[in-house]
Amino acid sequence: MADVAVERNSAAPVPKVRKRGGLRTALKRKSTAAFLMTLPLILLISLLVIYPAFYSLHLATLNKSMQRFVGLGNFQFLFTRETFWLVVQQSCIFAITAVIFKALIGFVVAHFVHNIPAKGQRKWRGMLLVPWVIPPAMSTLAWLWLFDPSYSAFNYLLAGVGVDRIPWTGETGWARFSVILVNIWVGAPFFMIMYLASLKSVPDQLYEAAAIDGANWWQRIWYVTLPMMRNIIAITTLFSLIVTFANFDIVRILTAGGPLDRTHIFATWAFRIGIEGGDIPLGASVSLFMIPILAIAAVFILRDINKRGNEA
């Protein structure tokens, strides 16, 4: 389509325009212009994402003092560590639980907002996006004060109604609950806004047809809303899964991986080992271990999207 447009607008003689491989022709193509315009971004991403990614791959193949090539030795070593498997397990618990609840809450809240009359909807949308807009490091600090071991505001309120204080970040179960809760609080608005956009694109005629067929509320959700939102749900879930797996700031600020390493996830443990412990190759190996897990998740989720695309 781009080439057609160029040809149509071109004032040059036909043989010259049709000359394949000519620099002028290439520059006149919209695709070339688009490529040139995105080139700065491509270079930036190459510099800030692709280069560090390959560099960390290189680091992961070195020994602790970074003087010797050890191949996959660091990964072999990690597989023998009890704490590593604990981190794998916790990362999965953290990411899967958080994403499920973010999706559920986002879905429900999106419906509520969708049903608010258009006049007041903008205000609600704005307010509900606040947790997602605030930098997580800042909002997590506020949560840290709410969960503080000795001066927790929540415990103060609980004490007011005669409930015993809760060790929010001191006991394994509560600490895991706390970090997941904060992650849900930060991430649910993203799901809400994506689902809301998707809901708005569902044609009203489908609901009307379903109503004529006698579908109840649940059947409308199950047979109309969800199928129409399937792709956006899948993509949002995948995106959130990647971001949640790679989370660092919430756990680092709230628990720093404690108590007894029971809230460490890949990024926080990689930081502990690589930066605080001075074992950069092992830290790089820990962080790279996320890739196969996320790749498997991506294959499953995106394959499903393609299938639906073909069906359509």
Binding site: P167, I275, G277, G278
Partner: protein, 446 residues
């Protein structure tokens, strides 16, 4: 006017000769070092302390005609550790960089030897304590110059009134200002009794059991006091020994008298515990006292910093030294050494200590009796025993004894604290020791 043309070959030879002469030129202390010097100092938490460093650097720069730039790098969020890692990777960065505790050893291969500077300073200011040598020296090579700024002892800071009231202990009599300690009765057993009494009195000792340095340092000093070695100097894992069992039993008893949320504490929790008036003792440098002086003066008036209790194998105080280092790829090593010599002179050290309100500790034995510690108040003499002026206790660091690169892992992973918490929470002794054995074996990577 003769027109002599310089050939390419002559130009290359002249450049190489000049470079070689510059590189191999001997370090001369008071020489006009000249050039530029880029410095990365630790960003002091005490207001005004950075200014003292800046003034001293500027004073030296004016004399030596060196253009200096100083970056104050905070330890908040481990920015200093990130800087160290980044500069080590990039082989480029500051000419002088402050490094805490384990980092000179971690970067040993990339650091300029400082034997000429440190040996001259030892001659001038007296010996350094054992922990400074353990952390700052690899074989015969001094990796770094012991820095006054940032170095600290994390001994007990007690409430005079609460210790008297609940534990019947007069900490001022035990550690009188201006005099040698009379603390023979200040044993780990009596410490436990005092902890129990204060717990009953509703003002428990505020000792953390988390994974940050305050918790790790305290537990490390108790391990040393019981002679509980987990990895020996040869690097062998020796965690399954009676001394370790003994200290775990001791800590289990002690933990029963500590705040129940102590496993979740970070390095700020104990400070808040003291300043809020909730506890009778914490293990900290005088930072908590200094905050109390500003925010809760009545509590500050009752604070007394003193020595650690003595255990079956001795009296050990947690000590965290800072170092000043120069990368071997640095661009102006002679000037760096000249400045470090200047900053370590007794007059400069006195200024730095005074600017930090007594927080900073010089490593050299002749510099532990400065007037700042004797005069700081309230109450007068509260910091007299902070710099260990009578060598009453051995300054140590958690996991000391193990080779530094292994000890760093033990320290960073808070292995000793985790052992105590696991055992306290009902895990069997054998299971705790087996877990520790597995962890420690994982730290042997090279």
């Amino acid at each position: 006017m003769s027109k002599k043309k310089l050939s390419r070959r002559q130009f290359v030879a002249a450049t190489a000769m000049s470079s070689a002469a510059l590189i191999s030129a001997p370090y001369i202390r008071s020489a006009n070092a000249a050039g530029k010097l880029n410095i990365g100092f630790w960003d002091h938490w005490v207001p005004g302390a950075n200014k003292a460093s800046t003034d001293l650097v500027n004073e030296w720069a004016a004399k030596e005609k060196v253009e200096v730039t100083i970056d104050y790098i905070p330890s908040q969020g481990n920015k200093n550790l990130l800087t160290i890692a980044a500069e080590a990777q990039a082989k480029s960065g500051h000419d002088i960089l402050a490094m805490p505790t384990w980092w000179p050893h971690a970067q040993a291969e990339l650091l300029e030897p400082m034997n000429d500077v440190v040996e001259a300073l030892i001659k001038q200011n007296g010996e350094v304590n054992g922990t400074v040598a353990y952390l700052g020296k690899a074989g015969d090579k001094w990796l770094a110059v012991p820095a006054c700024v940032g170095s600290q002892i994390k001994g007990p800071c007690s409430r005079i009134d609460l210790m008297k009231q609940h534990a019947n202990i007069d900490v001022q009599a035990m550690y009188p200002a201006g005099q040698a300690p009379k603390a023979d009765a200040w044993t780990t057993d009596n410490f436990l009794k005092a902890a129990e009494a204060c717990h009953k009195g509703g003002v428990p000792f505020g000792i953390g059991l988390g994974e940050t340095s305050d918790s790790v340092d305290t537990v490390g000093a108790f391990f040393l006091a019981f002679g509980a070695e987990v990895v020996n100097a040869k690097g062998d894992v020796v965690v399954k020994n009676d001394n370790v069992r003994q200290v775990l039993e001791y800590y289990k008893k002690l933990m029963a008298f500590l705040p129940s949320d102590a496993p979740a504490w970070d390095d700020g929790s104990n400070n808040r515990w003291l300043v809020s008036g909730k506890g009778a003792l914490i293990m900290n440098p005088p930072s908590a006292w200094a905050v109390a002086k500003r925010d809760a003066p009545k509590i500050a008036e009752q604070c007394w910093t003193h020595g650690f209790p003595v255990g079956p194998k001795g009296r050990f105080a947690p000590y965290l030294p800072y170092f000043w280092t120069a990368w071997n790829f640095g661009k102006n090593k002679p000037a760096a050494k000249s400045l470090l010599m200047h900053l370590s002179q007794p007059a400069a050290v006195e200024k730095l200590v005074a600017a930090s309100g007594g927080y900073d500790l010089p490593a050299f034995e002749k510099l532990t009796t400065l007037k700042t510690w004797a005069e700081e108040s309230p109450p007068k003499g509260t910091l007299y025993h902070y710099p260990n002026p009578h060598n009453h206790q051995k300054l140590s660091i958690s996991a000391a004894g193990a080779p530094p690169k292994i000890a760093q892992q033990i320290y960073t992973q808070a292995t000793l604290t985790k052992m105590c918490v696991r055992y306290f929470r009902g895990e069997s002794m054998d299971a705790t020791l087996s877990w520790a054995q597995g962890e420690l074996e994982g730290f042997m990577r090279s």
